[in-house]
């Protein structure tokens, strides 16, 4: 009998218990409105957070969190322009280093140059300084941290240099964030022509010959009496192989003689060939220098806290950290990232950095010297700064000891804590220390990691945050909680039920969210993204520009914008994200009407800024290009039918699939037979796009807000080497894309980028479609908690309020990317009207809000 009771009673009890548990669960409304939520903002991630060390992680799930913890020297504002962060001021200068001959007097050359250039460039010289090599290396008065100039040959190589600094002119526009620059792309040719004009007085031979110069310095340093050196070969003679061979043999002899002679005097001295290998190949070197003064009094999050380390004898001790952010931290960050033992995925950041010079007299002043002019490298300064004191050898060794990886004997020279305990195993990756507005919440002072991959991460407000402009935004928010538990599938439900506060809205969710307007606010903003249809310009169909134009004319972009993106997007006409300054708004496609009422008129004359949707014009163009309508309704040329496939990597129901469907429908009307083929994305990328095995494809670009467009458009970056899979080639654009990288002055970069934009857009390598707006939704409850303050600024209560100052309210929340969205276009209504968007951003009201929040005028 008891079996029967057991069999039936067990499941009944069990089910009853499970159902009873619901009594203890708070309702969604209680969750959303609970006191617990007042000061907290909950985000959900689609992926797990793995590491909080910015230089060991590459995922956006990680960076969404640590962006609140760490800070950088400069940051990007809502228009992706630079703005100062922990840097108080910054300027970009240029060190021009002229190599002297042994018998040249630096003072004479300096005078020569001053005379030669003085009238030409009265303002830009910061003054000349002559260094001998040792001084240049050791860098008085600034010292060098990361020396890569002539590694391994420092002692032997000691020619004299004349270094002079181009000084930036004062900022032209008024504004705190202007970065003065003085990098002159033409400086080398100007100096060379100045030297040429000065002629014999400068003592320079017309043609620089590194071997010749090196030999003279070699003799100088090794006390070898002047040996006769062969004069460089002239142009005509160098074409004769016999002469060249004899000349090279002569040099081989000299090289041997020099080495023998030097060895006789100083046994063991470097051989001449080795010396030559380290010698500068250019007489004049250009080294862009970023000169930075940092803000003072920025405290690290662990300021005043205990830190485990070792004393001089290797015994564990606790010290109290009193650390402010300074230049050593920046230098350390570069050193850490570049350390091959650390194996940072971002190690390429330091490739261009030649030296890091600290100023012994001012801990907040330093210079970064770059190997060569490459202006986008300045954007590397937007990366996080790490605290040097958390990574010192002693602290690292202490942690390694705690984890059983310490040295056998303290002071063992072969022991390197970075090798023994890899950086990603340090507690720092779980418990980061930065200077940002939020810090990692500790669990009751416990030293255990407060979270694990896949779990809840809690950040708490940093009471000591320094930034008086940003701080008010965070003032009433004590915690930000990042929830990595939810998958993509459930994030929408979690958001609608009030469990999370912020959600990125996808196109397919727009309608659903629009119906919930009472519970949430939606904000849209231009994002770093655009969509396009790409031609393979090597294909027999599309090597004719008229065909590409015809297909462009036959795509109804306005319909795509309306039906695929719900009107939330901006039409584009060229290869740049429209939110950037580099986008050329005044561009008009270079096109003359072939037929119809506008026949013979250009777009400019008609007043068009984009290719209109005009099937008749497209047909006329195809006829002109020789693609005549065949009897079967398909156009053909020389017996070849106009049939191709439009490739896609995302599937028919995705936005790109819909774009393709709309485009193909129109092309059919022109008499083209187009198939839609959707592939697995990996295969689409590898076997079609990068392999250039396609006629047309539909794709989009995202991210990367700078003006280095070579990867996509330069002829040397044809895929698979680069991403130039439409095989675009233009010598003029190539040249401009290279020149723009040597230019540091934004006022010159912008027009150059516009010119590149025009050149590429004129050739129609893509059909440029739209830049969809990024949309975020914020739970309305978040605005219901406006704090009431007493006279001393303490919170005494909270009252609901409507969204009176959207900019202020929304900018106090949110990760950086959301922040931009809100700042850019506060409170956009749905359905979206792009015209009103622009109006609102520029309205007096919005500008007043901006001023109120940021204390400066919003950029126009």
């Amino acid at each position: 009998m008891w079996i029967k009771i057991f069999l039936f009673a067990t499941p009944a009890t069990f089910l009853a218990l499970l159902c009873f548990s619901v009594v203890f669960v708070p309702s969604t409304i209680e969750v959303a409105r609970s006191d617990y939520r007042i000061d907290r903002l909950v985000f959900s991630h689609n992926g797990d957070v793995n590491s909080m060390n910015p230089y060991l992680s590459t995922t956006t799930t990680d960076s969404d969190v640590y962006t609140h913890i760490f800070e950088s020297l400069i940051d990007l504002d809502e228009y992706y322009r630079y703005k100062y962060k922990t840097a108080r001021s910054m300027r970009v200068c240029e060190d021009v280093v002229v190599l002297l001959d042994p018998d040249q007097d630096p003072a004479t050359l300096r005078n020569t140059l001053e005379v030669a250039l003085g009238n030409d460039l009265p303002d830009i010289f910061d003054g000349f300084r002559a260094y001998d090599h040792e001084e240049f290396q050791s860098g008085s008065p600034l010292m060098y941290i990361n020396d890569g100039l002539s590694a391994g040959a420092a002692e032997a190589l000691a020619p004299n240099y004349l270094v002079f600094r181009l000084r930036p002119a004062p900022a032209r526009r008024l504004g705190e964030n202007e970065i003065p620059t003085a990098v002159d792309a033409q400086i080398i040719s100007r100096i060379e022509s100045a030297l040429e004009q000065a002629g014999g007085r400068s003592g320079f031979a017309k043609q620089y010959d590194a071997r010749h110069c090196a030999a003279r310095w070699y003799m100088h340093h090794n006390g070898i009496a002047d040996m006769e050196l062969p004069a460089p070969l002239s142009q005509e003679v160098s074409k004769d192989p016999a002469t060249v061979k004899a000349f090279e043999e002569q040099w081989t002899g000299i090289s041997k003689a020099l080495s023998t002679e030097a060895n006789a005097r100083y046994p063991g001295v470097m051989a001449f060939d080795a010396y030559l290998a380290t010698f500068p190949q250019q007489r004049i070197g250009e080294y862009p220098v970023v000169d930075i003064h940092m803000r003072e009094g920025i405290k690290w999050h662990d300021y005043g806290q205990k830190l485990e380390t070792l004393d001089d004898k290797g015994r564990p001790i606790d010290i109290v950290v009193k650390e402010f952010l300074d230049a050593r931290d920046v230098a350390f960050t570069f050193q850490f990232v570049g350390d091959p033992i650390v194996r940072s995925p971002r190690s390429s950041l330091t490739e261009l950095v030649l030296q890091m010079r600290l100023d012994p007299s001012d801990p907040l002043h330093f210079e970064i010297v770059y190997r060569e002019p490459y202006s986008p490298a300045v954007s590397d300064l937007t990366y996080s700064i790490l605290p040097e004191h958390r990574f010192s050898d002693k602290v690292w060794t202490r942690e390694a000891m705690r984890k059983g990886k310490g040295p056998v004997v303290y002071g063992d020279q072969s022991y390197n804590p970075r090798e023994a305990l890899p950086a990603d195993r340090l507690d720092f990756a779980m418990m980061p220390v930065g200077t940002g507005p939020f810090k990692m919440a500790r669990l009751n002072g416990d030293s255990l990691p407060p979270w694990r991959a896949g779990e809840l991460i809690t950040l708490e407000r940093n009471e000591d945050y320094w930034d008086p402009v940003e701080m008010p935004q965070y003032r009433y928010m004590d915690f930000m909680i990042f929830d990595a538990q939810l998958g993509q599938e459930t994030s929408t439900i979690a958001f609608s039920s009030g469990s999370t506060d912020v959600k990125t809205v996808t196109v397919s969710e727009l309608d659903q969210f629009a119906r919930q307007q009472d519970d949430l606010y939606m904000y849209s903003r231009l994002a770093l993204t655009y969509e396009y249809l790409a031609f393979n310009m090597e294909s027999e169909f599309f090597n004719d520009k008229r065909v590409r134009q015809a297909l462009t004319l036959a795509v109804d972009v306005d319909a795509i914008l309306k039906y695929v993106y719900g009107g939330r997007g901006v039409r584009i006409s060229g290869p740049v994200y429209p939110i950037l300054d580099y986008y050329h708004w005044d561009y008009v496609p270079d096109y003359t009407y072939r037929q119809g009422k506008h026949a013979g008129k250009t777009f400019k004359e008609v007043g068009l800024k984009y290719y209109p949707y005009d099937l008749d014009e497209a047909k006329a163009l195809l006829d002109e290009a020789g693609w005549k309508m065949g009897s079967d309704g398909i156009r053909q040329k020389n017996g070849k039918k106009f049939e191709f496939a439009l490739l896609d990597g995302t599937g028919e129901t995705s936005p790109r699939g819909k774009i393709a469907t709309l485009a193909i429908e129109n092309w059919r009307r022109l008499g083209l037979n187009v198939k839609f083929e959707s592939k697995n994305f990996q295969i689409f990328v590898k076997e079609h796009a990068l392999a250039r095995k396609f006629d047309m494809l539909v794709l989009g670009w995202q991210g990367g807000g700078d003006y280095d467009m070579r990867q996509l458009w330069h002829s040397s970056f044809l895929s698979p080497r680069g991403m130039n899979f439409c095989a675009y080639q233009s010598a003029e654009a190539d040249k401009l894309m290279e020149d723009i990288l040597r230019e540091y002055d934004n006022d010159k970069i912008v027009p150059m980028s516009h010119r590149i934009f025009d050149l590429i857009a004129d050739d129609c390598p893509y059909i440029f479609l739209v830049s969809p707006l990024g949309t975020a939704a914020v739970d309305r409850h978040f605005y219901w908690n406006k704090p009431q303050l007493d006279g001393n600024g303490n919170v005494i209560g909270r009252t609901p309020h409507s969204l009176v100052d959207p900019v202020a309210m929304v900018s106090k929340v949110g990760p950086r990317n959301f922040l931009y969205q809100w700042k850019r276009s506060p409170d956009i209504e749905f359905p979206h009207d792009p015209a009103r968007d622009v109006e609102r951003v520029n309205s007096d009201e919005a500008r007043a809000l901006y001023r109120k929040v940021y204390g400066v005028d919003a950029p126009r």
Partner: protein, 337 residues
């Protein structure tokens, strides 16, 4: 008995080796690799090569095989040592890392399995405790209205995809009724003590029940079939003729014999306890093992996929062994041979 177990263990090792080789080869021969070219103009072209080198993916397959399983078994040893000594599994000694996130695979697997456990236990308990009474009821009231309703419901539950049902339940409970069920506990509130426990129970209950529903339907069909077969057997008639009361006949004599086939099904419990349900974890936002494996498969994170494949296979084999031994214990007719 001892010799039998030894022999079975020896067979298991061989089977496992074959599984290890096959699994490794199949996973590696699938198209693509964890480090594919991406369409990122800013990507560092050498980074992928560096990673391929770092994870030794450029070595011959047999070398990778040896390194991989060597590292895996070493890590299992470390894990056992860690758990035995202080229960903390955060030491830095693990060598086998995820290719994508660089997380140590073995301890993460262990931790994730612990998260999955409540969900699976609830779903198994529901399945096993409900299937028997329902099946027995159907068998004894064969042809009644109750039996026919249960049959109809069972076929409905077998046919309805559980993910669809799960989504409907979420929609109904969170949006219409207003009770949060997504996640392993109610998000964005602080609950402790009894409330915290009950809250956790609730969050495991719904996905557990839904995951178990189809199982109940299938298993109760089996139970019914077995019971019907046994009830018509001679010895049951004899027992009745002997004058035993109905419940003794049904629950003592019939049920015991009818349950024998289910001991075989126990073999499946062990691997299921470990790997959980991918679908339920994805839909209900559980940070458990199933979702982890699913994510790893999608991103071709070889180390996670192969390691979990191996552990699941090993557990399946162990489960089979245990159920065979149990069967011998329960059924005197079966001899070890």
């Amino acid at each position: 008995m001892f010799a039998y177990i030894l022999r079975r263990l020896f067979q298991m090792v061989i089977t496992l080796f074959v599984i290890a080789v096959l699994g490794f080869v199949i996973v590696h021969s699938a198209p693509g690799s964890p480090f594919e070219d991406t369409l990122d103009p800013k990507a560092n072209p050498t980074a992928n090569l560096m990673k391929i080198k770092q994870h030794k993916l450029d070595r011959p397959l047999y070398e990778q095989f040896i390194t991989f399983y060597g590292e895996m078994f070493r890590d299992f040893g470390v894990l056992i040592g860690d758990v035995a000594s202080d229960g903390s599994i955060d030491s830095a000694d693990y060598v086998l890392k995820s290719y994508k996130t660089n997380d140590p695979v073995v301890p993460t697997m262990f931790r994730r399995a612990l998260i999955t456990l409540p969900l699976v236990i609830i779903s198994l308990l529901i399945m096993w405790t409900l299937a028997f009474p329902v099946g027995i009821y159907s068998a004894m009231r064969r042809g009644s209205l109750g039996d026919r309703s249960i049959t109809l419901l069972s076929y409905a539950l077998i046919s309805i995809p559980s993910f669809w049902l799960a989504l409907l339940v979420i929609r109904f409970l969170t949006e219409d009724v207003g009770i949060p069920i997504v996640g392993a506990q109610t998000l964005s509130v602080e609950l402790d003590g009894v409330q915290g426990f009950m809250d956790g129970l609730w969050h495991a209950a719904i996905p557990g029940i839904i995951a178990g529903l189809a199982g109940i339907a299938v298993m109760s069909r089996y139970v019914k079939g077995q019971m019907l077969e046994v009830l018509s057997a001679d010895y049951v008639r004899t027992a009745r003729a002997k004058g035993l009361d109905q419940d003794s006949v049904n629950y003592k004599h019939a049920l015991r014999n009818a349950s024998l086939p289910f001991i075989t099904m126990l073999a499946g419990i062990l691997p299921m306890l470990f790997s959980g349900s991918v679908v339920m974890e994805s839909i209900y936002g559980w940070p458990g093992l199933g979702r982890w494996i699913y994510g790893a498969t999608m991103t071709k994170d070889y180390s996670i996929v192969i390691a979990t494949l191996f552990v699941t296979s090993a557990l399946t084999l162990v489960g089979m062994l245990i159920s065979d031994i149990l069967l011998v214990v329960a059924d005197p007719r079966i001899k070890l041979g």
